[in-house]
């Protein structure tokens, strides 16, 4: 049987303005793969619903999972204030991760879509090019890709670092090709990356996001539009939490 468990905070670190890195000691570590997420619950019981946050690093040796998140509301504010030794309830790992494929891969992260790319880049067997998009020179996590990826390309909205523009602009400018592209970020970015992949004939996986309740596929709160009839409800809706969050870019509407 799966269980909700109480994880212990090992470390908390501010990486950039409003962006925090939280390391949790948890048995969920054993089962986690890159691209999956964990549900983190507020210690304030008036906040009922868990916050789904993607896994940034899996450290089997220390039995820890690392998540990197942006503070967007009261729940994530509370998580950002957790300190080593504190405990927090979690459920997971949840969802399907990225299939590890290809001799040559491009991992693309935009903003708070960067974190899940780190563990993926580390686990991919072939050569990895990491393309990361940020608003400005607050390049959280970018330095940590240096060991995991052969190339690290940065794009910033304000042009302060790297390519002035989006990750797609950076991919075009560098004429990147690969066997497979993995992407996580805001929907317009995913749309652009999927289009790039389509034009170049590259297989592309995207990680989707939606407001969730249960996180296990029961409530049907977090569906995204699918191109084909789905297996669960036989309409064109896939459950982000259970069928995803990773999908082939060709199976969902972006």
């Amino acid at each position: 049987m799966k269980v909700k468990e109480r994880a212990t905070v090992v470390a908390q670190k501010k990486l950039a303005e409003g962006v925090f890195s939280l390391e949790l000691e948890t048995n969920a570590t054993k089962y986690a793969v890159p691209g999956q997420f964990i549900n983190i619950f507020s210690n304030d019981k008036s906040k009922l619903l868990p916050r789904p946050i993607s896994i940034c690093e899996i450290n089997e040796l220390n039995n820890t999972l690392r998540v990197v998140f942006r503070v967007v509301g009261e729940g994530t504010t509370e998580f950002s204030e957790l300190q080593a030794g504190d405990t927090v309830e979690i459920l997971g790992p949840l969802g399907n991760g990225f299939p590890l494929e290809g001799e040559k891969a491009i991992v693309v992260g935009g903003g708070i879509g960067v974190p899940p790319m780190l563990e993926l880049a580390k686990q991919l067997k072939g050569s990895v090019t990491a393309v990361m998009g940020y608003r400005n020179d607050d390049l959280f996590l970018a330095d940590e890709f240096i060991d995991a990826a052969a190339d690290v390309i940065i794009a910033t909205d304000d042009g302060s670092v790297g390519v002035h523009g989006t990750v797609v602009d950076a991919m075009k400018e560098n004429e990147l090709t690969a066997d497979v592209i993995y992407a996580c970020g805001p929907k317009p970015m995913l749309r652009g990356v999927a289009q790039y992949a389509l034009e170049k004939g590259i297989k592309c996986y995207v990680s989707m996001e939606e407001r969730m309740a249960c996180g296990v596929g029961a409530c049907l709160g977090c569906v995204c539009q699918a191109k084909e009839v789905d297996d669960h409800s036989h309409v064109k809706n896939k459950r982000v939490c259970k069928d995803g969050p990773v999908f082939l870019s060709t199976e969902v509407e972006l």
Binding site: M1, K2, V216, L220, S233, V235
Partner: protein, 302 residues
């Protein structure tokens, strides 16, 4: 110690069910709880054909509660029978209550007819109270004449006992309970969610794509207790009580108010083992209080 309760001739090993729509057909939560230990699995609403549901966002959190506007996405009764009922075959100790939804009387009846000879279906719960679909659903549940009429129509077709699921979004729920009883309902269940709204003050727009959603969770529990109490003193058919039950105390409270069985809904989302945790707490309470039979506490607070 006896935890068995009987509703319309159907015996449940204990009064714990889960509320329709929060638990699928049990498949997902079977990884967390042994479904065989539940009184019943109450399925998500099923229609005659697949329903797409509403656009997203479908979920919003509010203080001590949540809003949902799923819009009854479901695979339709054919797939439901072939897949979900088949899956539930392996959990013989739990009864199966199928929640039925429709846009019109004809659609409800089509589902009820299709389920009539399915042996795994012990009871039907007729959803005349979903606040998130425009036609059918709540439209039937806010007019006593319509409640009585749809109850009578469904009852004439159903081979299993029928439970009418009532909406709290009415002036006087007792009137609806009486209408269901007059139409021949074997039992009633309440409450469905309360219509609510959340506005994002930064974006100055609705959080839910549907604008409104059904509110559930601990915040609605006192309203549910009051309504179960009111209905229990008005009708003589059994009541399945629900609305914000998250602890054994809440479940006992609901039974003291007059519910023969209780359903756990939103609590599943933040405690996947809520159903069995609550059952265990109820048993401990019975032991501590020297209660031999759970039926002895139903509706005793008057």
């Amino acid at each position: 110690m006896n935890t068995k309760v009987t509703i319309a001739g159907v015996e449940f090993q204990n009064p714990i069910m889960e509320a329709s729509g929060t638990f699928g057909s049990g498949m997902e939560y079977s990884e967390f709880v042994d479904l065989n230990k539940l009184g019943a699995v109450v399925t998500k609403g099923v229609a005659n054909v697949p329903w797409l549901g509403n656009p997203t966002p479908r979920i919003a959190e509010v203080k001590s509660g949540m809003l949902n506007a799923i819009g009854l996405q479901n695979p339709g009764v054919e797939v439901f029978c072939e897949r979900d009922l088949k899956f539930l075959e392996q959990y013989k100790d739990a009864k199966v209550v199928v929640n039925v939804c429709g846009h019109s009387a004809e659609e409800y009846i089509e589902v009820v007819d299709r389920l009539a000879d399915e042996k795994r279906v012990d009871m039907l719960e007729i959803n005349i109270s979903c606040p998130n679909v425009k036609e059918g659903g709540i439209a039937f549940g806010q007019d006593p004449k319509a409640v009585e009429e749809i109850t009578r129509l469904v009852k004439a077709h159903a081979k299993q006992p029928i439970v009418m699921k009532l909406s709290p979004n009415v002036t006087d729920i007792k009137v609806m309970a009486k209408a269901a009883e007059a139409g021949g309902a074997d039992a009633i269940s309440l409450i469905n969610t309360l219509t609510g709204m959340k506005i994002d003050v930064e974006r100055q727009s609705f959080v839910l794509a549907n604008k409104t959603g059904g509110m559930s969770g601990p915040a609605v529990h006192p309203i549910a207790v009051r309504m179960v109490y009111e209905c229990a003193s008005t009708v003589s058919i059994p009541i399945i009580g629900m609305g914000g039950i998250s602890t054994w105390e809440d479940a006992i409270e609901m039974m003291l108010a007059g519910a023969t069985a209780v359903s756990i809904g939103t609590a599943n989302f933040y405690n996947p083992t809520a159903t069995l945790d609550i059952l265990n707490g109820m048993k401990e309470y019975m032991e501590r209080k020297g209660i031999e039979d759970i039926n002895d506490i139903i509706g005793i607070v008057k």
